[in-house]
Subunit: 204 residues, 2 copies
Amino acid sequence: MALSHAIMTALLDEDLSGYDLTRKFETSLGFFWAASHQQIYQTLKKLDAEGAVSARAVAQDGRPDKIVYALTPRGHQLLDAWIREESRARPAKDDLFVKLYNVGHTDPAPIEAEIRARHAEHGRRLALYEKIRDRHYAQPRQLPDARKGIYLALSAGIRQERMFIDWCEEALALLATLPQADSEAATTVDADSSRRRTGPKRSG
Amino acid sequence: MALSHAIMTALLDEDLSGYDLTRKFETSLGFFWAASHQQIYQTLKKLDAEGAVSARAVAQDGRPDKIVYALTPRGHQLLDAWIREESRARPAKDDLFVKLYNVGHTDPAPIEAEIRARHAEHGRRLALYEKIRDRHYAQPRQLPDARKGIYLALSAGIRQERMFIDWCEEALALLATLPQADSEAATTVDADSSRRRTGPKRSG
DNA sequence: ACTCCGTATGCAACTCTTTGCATATCTCCT
DNA sequence: AGGAGATATGCAAAGAGTTGCATACGGAGT
């Protein structure tokens, strides 16, 4: 499980509670590896059972108690071993590309709408990443070693967002050349054999 | 389940057996949504039970019999509904970015090695995608509508590979500025107090 | 008092995906 | 006859991730 390793990685610099980790996974590391709080709590228990992290209860004033986790030497070993071993890059699965294969068989409007939404979303993300980079990661070569890797992840994020934004623009331009479905019509799979007009049909 | 929809999408143009689909998911659609044969056979059964596809046995000559699946009108409806509804883009999870957060805390050599491997792999993929584009998708605006979406998915693949290759080069250049861990030193977890000097050490 | 919100942790059920194993037919080669 | 390899389909179990629900404390607002 790579989430285990993402959590251990997050614990490299500081001890954190499940709640802290949840917030960390909503930003920073979470840009590259999303996780829900349920998953995080479960995984922390598993890591604790394995001896990769150690838990200590912390009483708090004005808010509920919490359980803070620290990476153990054993956890560090596991992390190092993982870095050396694993390698498989699983292809990113994205619904949108599957949907694109449906163009010509269905109303393209919802797909265009989704691309427009993505365009906006990736624009926001790009702005966020660039802000972070400009504030904390300008001049990458001058960064302490421990920040260089994070800078590189951020740089990949920035490149990715830019690439996607450019692609959205290409896609919208090309999709604009399609005959628009008026109301519910559209599409069509031309003629005769086997699969005549399975698309949304207008006639009877 | 999006795999259901990917399978239904693959059945838009032609009826296919589980085996055919498996091969199709090793290329084409599979560039964007990977699936093993086990998963495909399971999902086909589920789709059949739901009435989204219909199965028919086909006796063959010179090879084992097969079961060929066709998309039903019901399946077409489900597919259209899915295209309209869903939207959530799950962030691509990639181990490599998690590993990068470990730079400065562990030997960077395996990470560099992985980036080099990715560089090569993405180079191969880029060449493959460009070959497909040049052969079958030159002049996107002249393509039949049903191929425009596929072209766009391919274009996204090409942009992605190029982006990643550029990033690998940036990453290798920056990682080259790190002090290299000599033999087995590195890493480690140093002793006593919580977390001083977790980086690879060279001095003594 | 009451409710909402942020902090903090958790269970249970389900879906999705991966991994390992198993089986069978047919062709081609040795 | 035997084995390799492509074709063709499947089960079972484990791992990973999602969804819905539940609980509890304390502060702030109505």
